[in-house]
């Protein structure tokens, strides 16, 4: 058996976009191994229908674990259900998204199954019937090629590193109620959620990131970045350099870099950012990098694909306007 299980994600009853990336990659691996791709969704009852569309990306079977206790992510409930499905299905590979949730979940499942995990991978291949993963190490200063000597092989995929690809499969939905879920025994309790001023799109998962640095001068100028983000559409998020976070202008959740989040979006804007090595550590694997800086010698221009030398306060409004114009024409 060489079937592959893709763990997909919902939030508030809606399937998250990253699920398509995970299923597409899992389907490609399954084809290389001569097995089938299955998807597993955990959520409240009635959730299964949301996942039906995953057949389009190559899921032969979609298993939906439905229970009220699984409505929102809880590490103890989720890890047990995923481990059980992985074990019973005898999968050769289990693929997680390296989303905020996936980063918390995958290591626990690995420990329950007693198999190693390659986190945050950016490439997957099948060589001689076995899985080989590629992942950045040393903050992207090197890449490792890794193999597994245990089964199932567990991997989590860096958001945006794998493109969703259509390859229609049966997509048969099977929902089930996992047994033995006992939320009363779970040891971590969620007490409260405090909404912050930050954006609602996680910078680590967005496909477009608009990052402001100290060159933005102060938090009062973030409206300029928000205007650009809004022009770029729903999948754009705001980021910040450490200088900005340390100054208290933006929450740490938006920090990109070695002591912040690692991002690899399709399009990254570095605005008023000098390009310190610790900042590069968090964004150098982005597909296309744009920098705007008034200093033509700023190191950020060495990694940027496109640069504009100029004053942000003049360039940003025009940039937002041009993006708006372009998208209005679509």
């Amino acid at each position: 058996m060489a079937d592959v299980l893709a763990i997909v994600e919902q939030r508030e009853g809606k399937l998250r976009g990253i699920s398509n990336e995970v299923v597409s990659a899992a389907a490609r691996i399954a084809a290389g191994m001569g097995g089938a791709c299955h998807a597993l969704l955990l959520g409240p009852s009635g959730m299964a229908g949301e996942a039906a569309g995953l057949g389009r990306y190559g899921a032969e079977k979609i298993r939906a674990a439905e229970a009220e206790a699984l409505s929102v992510y809880h590490p103890e409930g989720y890890s047990r259900v995923v481990a059980e499905v992985a074990r019973e299905g005898g999968y050769a590979v289990v693929v997680f998204p390296a989303s905020a949730q996936g980063k918390d979940l995958a290591p626990r499942v690995a420990a329950l199954l007693d198999v190693p995990l390659a986190s945050d991978v950016t490439g997957l291949e099948v060589e001689g019937g076995s899985l080989v993963a590629f992942r950045p190490v040393f903050s992207g200063k090197a890449f490792a090629t890794v193999a597994f000597s245990a089964s199932p092989a567990l991997v989590s995929l860096r958001p945006n590193a794998f493109q969703p690809r259509e390859s229609p499969a049966a997509g048969i939905v099977e929902s089930f109620v996992p047994s033995g879920l006992d939320p009363a025994s779970w040891k971590v309790r969620v007490r409260e959620f405090r909404a912050s001023g930050g954006g609602s799109r996680d910078v680590a998962e967005a496909s477009v990131v608009v990052t402001g640095g100290r060159g933005m001068k102060g938090p009062e100028n973030w409206g300029l970045l928000e205007a650009l983000r809004d022009a770029l559409g729903d999948d754009a998020a705001l980021g910040a350099s450490r200088a900005v976070v340390d100054a208290g202008w933006r929450p740490h959740g938006e920090q990109v870099g070695q002591t912040g989040k690692t991002v690899a979006p399709k399009l990254y804007f570095a605005l008023g950012i000098s390009g310190a090595i610790q900042h590069l550590a968090g964004m150098r694997t982005s597909q296309t990098i744009v920098a705007v800086n008034k200093d033509p010698d700023a190191p950020i221009f060495q990694v940027a694909d496109y640069g504009i030398v100029g004053d942000l306060f003049e360039v940003l409004p025009r940039l937002a306007e041009e993006v708006r114009k372009l998208r209005a024409g679509d």
Binding site: A100, A147, R189, R191, G307, E314
Partner: protein
């Protein structure tokens, strides 16, 4: 209260990484090694908790080569009470590391175990929750601040759009991210004192890597970028290039 902090020796972020001739590891020559930055936040958090309580013990635990004793001394100089070095090399296999750490932690019976959110070398972000799972202890990851009450901990966790407050009883495992805990510098007095603090050292048992590094390589070269222009008038051309050449808009 006994607090165990797991710390890892990693290259300084400023360091240039050169690959060793074997092709499966880095060349350590000329590399400055430090306590992994997130682990320093964890050490700081432990010290602050001990200070706030006025009593307790902070134990540093690391799995690594013999040179790791130097890294542990750095943590002792910050103010930790004692250190344990398990000699062994799990390579990239976080679960192999977690097993060795869990075996040691079990015997120490701590109230709290702190990890960094991720190691600055392998960037795996997994050893903390794996260790907790092996020990069957509750675990909250990516904690930016926590308050320790009598019987429970309240953890702040930054998530999309806000902060989540989670509660967990003792004993517990937390992984610490950047937030409230700005690491202190070791004072000269601290450095002197560290030399006399207990540092136990022994072989780790049964460390077997099953996630195998076949090869390390340098990242693909980014094609040379270009300056599209100067000032706001370059914006239109930039947007055109993003659509027509890079195809990302």
């Amino acid at each position: 209260m006994r607090i165990v902090v797991c710390i890892k020796r990693t290259p300084d972020s400023e360091t240039r990484i050169r690959l060793a001739e074997t092709g499966t590891s880095i060349d350590p020559n000329g590399v400055k090694f430090i306590i992994s930055p997130y682990d320093e936040f964890a050490v700081e958090a432990a010290l602050q908790l001990k200070e706030a309580r006025g009593s307790g013990e902070v134990i540093l635990l690391s799995l690594g080569g013999p040179e790791t004793s130097e890294t542990l001394r750095q943590g002792l100089a910050m103010g930790a009470d004692r250190a344990i070095l398990l000699r062994g090399d799990p390579g990239m296999d976080g679960l192999a590391a977690a097993k060795a750490l869990a075996g040691e932690i079990r015997g120490l019976e701590p109230s709290l175990v702190l990890f960094g959110m991720k190691g600055a070398d392998m960037d795996q972000q997994q050893v903390g929750p794996m260790t907790a799972t092996l020990l069957d202890l509750p675990c909250v990851t990516a904690v930016s601040a926590f308050d320790a009450g009598e019987g429970a901990l309240t953890c702040h966790r930054e998530v999309e759009g806000g902060v989540e407050l989670l509660e967990v009883g003792f004993p517990a495992v937390l992984t610490i991210t950047k937030g409230k805990y700005e690491p202190r510098y070791a004072s000269l007095k601290g450095i002197m004192a560290a030399k006399k603090k207990p540092l136990e050292e022994r072989e780790a048992q049964g460390v077997e890597a099953r996630l195998l590094v076949r090869k390390l390589s340098y990242p693909p070269e980014r094609p040379a970028g270009r300056i599209v222009g100067k000032g706001p008038d370059a914006a239109a051309e930039l947007v055109r290039l993003l659509r027509e050449e890079a195809k990302v808009l």
